[in-house]
Amino acid sequence: MNLRQDLMAPEILTALRLSLVCSLAATAIAIVLGLPLAWVQARVTFPGQRVLRALTTLPIVLPPVVAGVVFGRRGLVGMWLDRWFGIRLPFTTAGAALAEAFVAMPFFVLTMEGALRSVDRRLEEAARTLGASRWKVFRHVTLPLVRPSLQAGAVLAWARALGEFGATITFAGNVPGSTQTLPLAVYLALETNPDTAFVLSLVLLAVSLAVLIGLRRRWLAW
């Protein structure tokens, strides 16, 4: 089997497309949920803040497989979701995206929390005196000031989501076309066709390397 055939195999293309869709969706989820979370942690003090911070960083420490099991259909949280609301995220593409988001979000949140802390608050106050509401200050002053970190954090989260394996396979399963992302396909191919696994690994390696190089250039440019 040659390299071109390997790359063009339909199940591989499907896995690659799914990987991109899931990782981008996971990044979007991480941004939408993570930005308010980072803001709250950087700017507000409230009881239970330590617990919240621990929970936010937990996915970095926790083996992804464990996370997948806990939130899975037969897991602690997944069981109640299924029983009470009839929500069965596991074994769907949405489930795969969610599993990736869970693992990737801390990278975005931690990056943004640091960035939001380092913003000169007096600039925000200056904007308030110039007639900007809190929201306008955030939109037109804070956000532009943290934009480099936002981009870096999003790329980090995306890269983490792209390579996600453990949580995806335990939470979302290994269903070709709906939850079988590239890393899962690599794992599967390893048992049946080591050559394909090797090619797929190269693809993933290339993508990861390209992202890191791009990120570095952005940091240097800033």
């Binding site: 007096r122 600039l123 200056a126 904007a127 308030r128 005196t129 110039l130 007639g131 037109h140 000031l145």
Partner: protein, 350 residues
Amino acid sequence: MSLHAAIGIRFDRLALDARFSATNHEVVALLGPSGAGKTTILRALAGLAPLTAGRIVLDGTVFEDAATNEWVPPERRNLGVVFQDALLFPHLSVLDNVAAGLRFTGTSRVIARVRAREWLERIGIGELADAKPGVLSGGQAQRVALARALATQPRILLLDEPLSALDVTTRADVRRELRRHLNAFTGIRLLVTHDPIDALALADRLIVLEHGHIVQSGSSLDVTATPRSRYVADFVGVNWLRGTARGAAVMLAGGGTLIVPDLVPGEVFVVIHPRAVSVHRQKPEGSPRNVLPGVVVSADDEGSRVRVRLALPFPLVAEVTRASAAELELDRGGDVWVTVKATEIATYAA
């Protein structure tokens, strides 16, 4: 237009309690040493520091009232604030910085930029419109900050140490321009500074603040002629003593007596210009009615004159020429006789 403020704030070790008013017919300077609470007052007026007591009212509109919890957020107070470090938005061009206030309050981008450009021309840096604030000099940044604050046509202009970050040469230029813009501005003008020179050059009325309290308030002339705090006396450069007037004499709080004409009985402040104090090695004869024995504590050469610190036992500073300082050998210290003409002693009720 008038602003009435009663500002009570507890803040770390500072207990701020200051009441004052300002109208649009005057430039008011809040003057005081650092840590006196000047900037906190300005922040309270801007809505950036909440009051724990008191209220702020502009023309009958309550900005803030600690008793009723009324509070108008900063963006609806219609203010212009010039901050100490200019605080220009680093991600915006100079032009967009000046246009920012108009943009925040709903003016279209095109119109906001046209007006911002007019402001930049007015402050004489039109050619820097497209530059980022990072490349500006301190003086330029402060000019842009002023334009940015004025562009929204606020009703109140607040300036927080607008000149303190500038070097001496730039400072004089910017001060002169600032005076011009302050005169042209028709709203309430309030300046915070720890520098008496800025305060005297820019303001019509001074409010002197120390340890969170107003110690004196009045026209520049009144405040400098009749200091009511050590801080003011020091920047005016006069001897400032406190005592009790009885007959034609003032019993000083630190011990000693001064003969003064035209006394009003009671607690008084005594002001003596250092040049009105003469120093002698021999007890002088003749007219001065205050002849007191004392000791030279130190003699500091200050160019053309020598500043002599004396203990009589109350502290007094004399300014003598270099020639007489040399003749009297003041740098070796020792006992001296000090004379002060009664007519050169100013007293006023404490």
